[in-house]
Amino acid sequence: MDSNQADHITLERILKQESGKLISVLTRIFGSHNLELAEDVVQDTLVKAMEQWNDKVPENPTAWLFVVAKNKVLDVIRQQKRTYEFAKDITLLLESEYTLHPTLNELLDESEIKDDQLRMMFACCHPELSEEAQVTLILKTLCGFSTAEIARAYLSSEETITKRLYRTRQLFREGKIQFEIPAEEDLPQRLEAILTTVYLIFNEGYNSTHHSDLIRQDLVEDAMFLIKMLSEHPVTNHPKVLALMALMCFHAARIPGRLDENGNILLLKQQNRHLWNQELIWFGKGCLDAAAEGGELSRYHLEAGIAYEHSNAETYDMIDWDNIVYLYNLLYQLYPSPIVALNRAIAIGETEGARAGLEAIEDIPDKDALKEFYLFPATLGEFYKQLGQADIARTHLEEALSLTQSEVEKSLLRSKIAQLSAD
């Protein structure tokens, strides 16, 4: 990559993140019912930046964007105050020249913007919205994704995403989605919804189910940007948030070792651990230690604990599988999902052998729910392979092959099937 390209990528990231800030603060100013107006003004600002920065990027791009956006906001308010009603609590202050500038300056203050970004996150993850809509909206508003980029990331058509956004914005227009930090009694539940959405984005980035690329670095980075924002805000700086951040750090740290030079998946056993990002692991460990204060134990604490065991082992043989099984046991009690049970069975297979692993799978009460999940037959196939029962293994691996859309996962399964015949 030459330096021009590098500059270009950084600039794109700056524009995306700043656009997230701007949409948040403009939604605060115009009111959540005017989300589209906020998006339009930010869009105009970005277009102007693209036009004028062609020659030379200003020394402080953020300040430039904010000045331009502020002027556009002034125009909109002065010219269209009879058309729009802005955010209820400040609309009178925006309509009077006595108070317009001071009010805007106050709202455009850095610390206010952090609150607005948080309000935007709560708005995007509002219980009125489907999980799909939440992911789409958070990427669109806070992460600065275009409709086309969202469509690409989730292998969907632009039309589908546009329709989804239209319906979502309708709820904003109708005033059903408040732009506020929830009251204390609602906070835990609302925060949980945000964490689920952020984790969904991260997982899609870390292990793309929709894409020929296994890893979508942009989604990983955006999910980490969102969790960092939550962890830095006093309202949401909860142990659970820090635990999820730790978990994401441990996973992200291993990304550089997950694929070989041809883009094929390397199993944990085959990965070059020297390629893992030690700094990120170390940072994640700090988050996990901080998350331990306060006595809360969430699924994210346990998942981070498990990921840490993997990250911390110097070689594959040094992985403490007993502790991992112990953590999965706790996780399953707290969060009894069949997928957790499946992963627990894999860990049991590592400590006690394939037979015990198969028994653990057999004991999963709701294992029917896993039927469509490629990892279920893939794991069965692996255990039977280890037991030397090649025919049964092949049946399971072939079933797994039919269940995944991911090219890299398919190619991994094919190579396992090929090994069966070779053995």
Binding site: D89, L93, E95, S96, Y98, H101, P102
Partner: protein, 118 residues
């Protein structure tokens, strides 16, 4: 509840001087107005923050529609701006008006009830 217009008045000299202040002084002054009207908003008393006016202007008069420069000054002070508040009576309106920043500049605040025509 009744609407009252608050009319801010000051001498022409004071108004013109104000227009020549440095941006810092202007900003500090505007902050006072903003704080005052912001407090009225929070109490739910503000109906319309109104607008400030330039001291210069044109005046038309009578059937002859004679045009002259400058605000038509009957008294000593010209109108520099206005706001509208909604309160129960003059007593409350005056109590609120006491906090208006124009008084610090030795200006005048005129409180007038808005007529509701039946």
């Amino acid at each position: 509840m009744k609407d009252f217009m608050l009319i801010y008045r000051n001498t022409l000299e004071a108004e013109e001087l104000y227009a020549q202040q440095s941006p810092e002084v202007l900003e500090a002054n505007l902050a006072k107005w903003s704080a005052w009207l912001g407090a009225l908003t929070q109490q739910g008393k503000l109906t319309d923050g109104g607008q400030p006016l330039y001291p210069q202007g044109k005046t038309l008069k009578g059937k002859a529609k004679k045009i002259t420069d400058g605000p038509y000054i009957e008294g000593k002070e010209i109108v520099g701006g206005y706001s509208i508040i909604r309160v129960t009576d003059y007593e409350e309106a005056l109590a609120l008006a006491k906090d208006c920043p124009i008084l610090e500049d030795d200006g005048v605040i005129e409180v007038r009830e808005i007529v509701l025509l039946s």
